[in-house]
Subunit: 141 residues, 2 copies
């Protein structure tokens, strides 16, 4: 079960209002969803840019995954999320293809999505997320 | 003139055959174009993943833009390219919005595209490319 398309690009930022302003003014971005998830240590804003999406990620603290990413690399692209129709089948196929799965089972992600991550070491340095719409089809309207 | 969609993600790699293999086997990628451009110091392969595209970039030497990127950061996402319908108008708008343009005029890019880059300092750390199809509509079929 291969991806249907890129669902969004994850973009880690330290100044969320400034980044939102850039996406809105420079790229015509429109805010689609906004959510703070303390358990994942992140505040996220999904922005539509034309037919595509960018997910801005602001860490809630230094000792969070996105906080550590920012400390190591500074603001920039964090992951590429691919839309799949059957995330369990896609994870099975990825494991059979030799990929190292960060999540062997899908878990609840932001915005009502089911998500799972694949280790960047398996995709030439790019952190890859698979996303599948759940029962609550956020973002698919 | 705001972007219509993400056209592709640029992904800098050191081992091009290995990266192509991963995109093909893991993500069902299909090679769309392949081009070596000595003047830009890069060998590029455009890969379709479902409806989306990833541009793999392998530097032809250490003293090239992509070579320096790899030396600094290792393999990973290099840029996000947005499709625009009027690249000159989009560049004008970007400059008026305060963005720092790397290319103030569009120039010939890979695969017959007209391209221009915006400095990552203007887009929260992400190198942004605008692309417009030229007379030779590579990749638009």
């Amino acid at each position: 079960m291969h991806p249907e398309a890129i669902h969004h690009i994850g973009h880690a930022v330290d100044d969320l209002p400034a980044a939102m302003d850039v996406y809105q003014r420079l790229l015509g971005g429109v805010v689609e969803h906004r959510e703070t998830v303390p358990s994942q240590g992140v505040e996220a804003v999904m922005i539509r840019v034309g037919e595509s999406r960018v997910e801005l990620l602001r860490p809630l603290g230094d000792d969070t995954p996105v906080g550590k990413f920012l400390a190591n690399r500074g603001p920039g692209m964090h992951h590429v999320a691919y839309l799949v129709s059957d995330i369990r089948a896609s994870l099975r196929d990825a494991a059979e293809a030799g990929a190292e799965l960060i999540d062997t089972e899908p878990r609840p992600g932001l915005f009502g999505l089911e998500v799972a991550f694949i280790h960047p070491g398996s995709v030439a340095g790019v952190l890859v997320e698979y996303v599948q719409y759940g029962g609550n089809r956020h973002g698919s309207s």
